[in-house]
Symmetry: none
Subunit: 226 residues, 2 copies
């Protein structure tokens, strides 16, 4: 399947060239000419693999735009900066898999960078972000965020939540959870798991669409809204 890219570039000439070149290199490109065009367009970001953002854009610069997008997706960004533009702000960004490139740039270089960040994304489980209702969950940081407030989870809490999130809309057995998080002893393990479920429920109580129901004798039913 082709990799899909978002391109935000206001210069029509450069936009055309980039789009054509990227498509020639077997990417599927959706091109927006302004931040607003992108933000006002209903789009499922998670279909895309990366976004290329020009730093100089009308209305809102590429960094602000990236912050907006970060609220909705964990895809990596590649910034286009003019030569001589300060890269301080980029270096200061919380760059996960992100990168930047100065323009004018060699097309080969651009393609190389894109392949790099795509590759990193697959390998790097760090910096991934999971949406759980109104919450954002960063497993590698043990961080669960609800708008302005952040909950610092412990390691086990985080591991458990990650496991549950992967089994959304499904019933997961106690046995499976115990195997995944506590090793495969089928040895009975106190009330530990229940204590952790209790804590997760407490964290997640602010979005009532989220449910961690128990299924007697089996395990738990996980219901997270999309």
């Amino acid at each position: 399947m082709k990799n899909k890219l978002i391109l935000v570039e206001d210069d029509p000439d450069l936009g055309v060239v980039l789009k054509q070149y990227l498509e020639f290199s077997d990417f599927e490109v959706t091109w927006f000419t302004s931040p607003d065009a992108l933000l006002n367009h209903p789009i499922n970001y998670n279909e895309y693999n990366a976004a290329i953002l020009d730093v100089m854009l009308p209305g809102m610069d590429g960094f602000q735009l990236s912050k907006e997008l970060r609220k909705q997706t964990a895809i990596p960004f590649l910034f286009l900066t003019a030569k001589g533009q300060s890269i301080d702000r980029i270096l200061g960004l919380k760059l996960g898999a992100d990168d930047y490139i100065t323009k004018p740039c060699e097309p080969e270089e651009l393609i190389l960078r894109i392949h790099n960040i795509l590759k990193r994304q697959v390998v790097d489980t760090n910096n991934t972000m999971i949406r759980i209702g109104n919450y954002l969950f960063f497993p590698s940081r043990y961080l669960l965020q609800l708008e302005a407030t952040a909950f610092q989870l412990t390691e086990k809490e985080s591991d458990l939540l990650q496991l549950l999130a992967a089994r959304n809309n499904d019933v997961i057995s106690r046995k499976e959870i115990l195997e995944q998080l506590w090793g495969e002893d089928d040895y009975f393990l106190g009330r530990s798991l229940d204590v952790f479920m209790s804590r997760l429920r407490k964290y997640l109580q602010h979005d009532n669409r989220i449910k961690l129901e128990s299924v007697r004798g089996v395990g738990f039913r996980v219901v997270f809204p999309e």
Copy 2:
């Protein structure tokens, strides 16, 4: 004091010529004939002012080498490329003060370039000042200032503070800090990092908005006011 340079060049003839010419031009030169020779040699990179790296080298090319070195030092690099070699990769590098030159090159040209990157570096570092609450921080001078009083930081203290400052309002993992400041060996490093965090907290205790909280099992949460 003489400026000190690292030279990595595998061609013995060219190496001799460059070294002599640079020394004639009042630089102090340490010459290595391969990337491994440099990497295996215990060396304090920060004593040096710049490194000249041939792009074509045995084992590892100059770009890979520069990435390795970047983990340990902020000195600028000057790349030697043969005429016709692609310069795309250089232009895309995240290198602020860096430059490249094609060989065969005029010695004057080389000296000129080196003086240029040294000058740039001085200007850059002189101008860099980071506000951290009521403090002013001059990374290049290892100087942390609070109104009338000044703290002379050590190099490692300064590097750590700089790294933390770049990650304001974020959680940074122990692993990442260790990789950035101690090289990416995953070898276990006593309580060193904690000792440095402790010292930074002590320096910064006079502005209670500044927080360096630990996040158990992960690393630290950095909260500096704007």
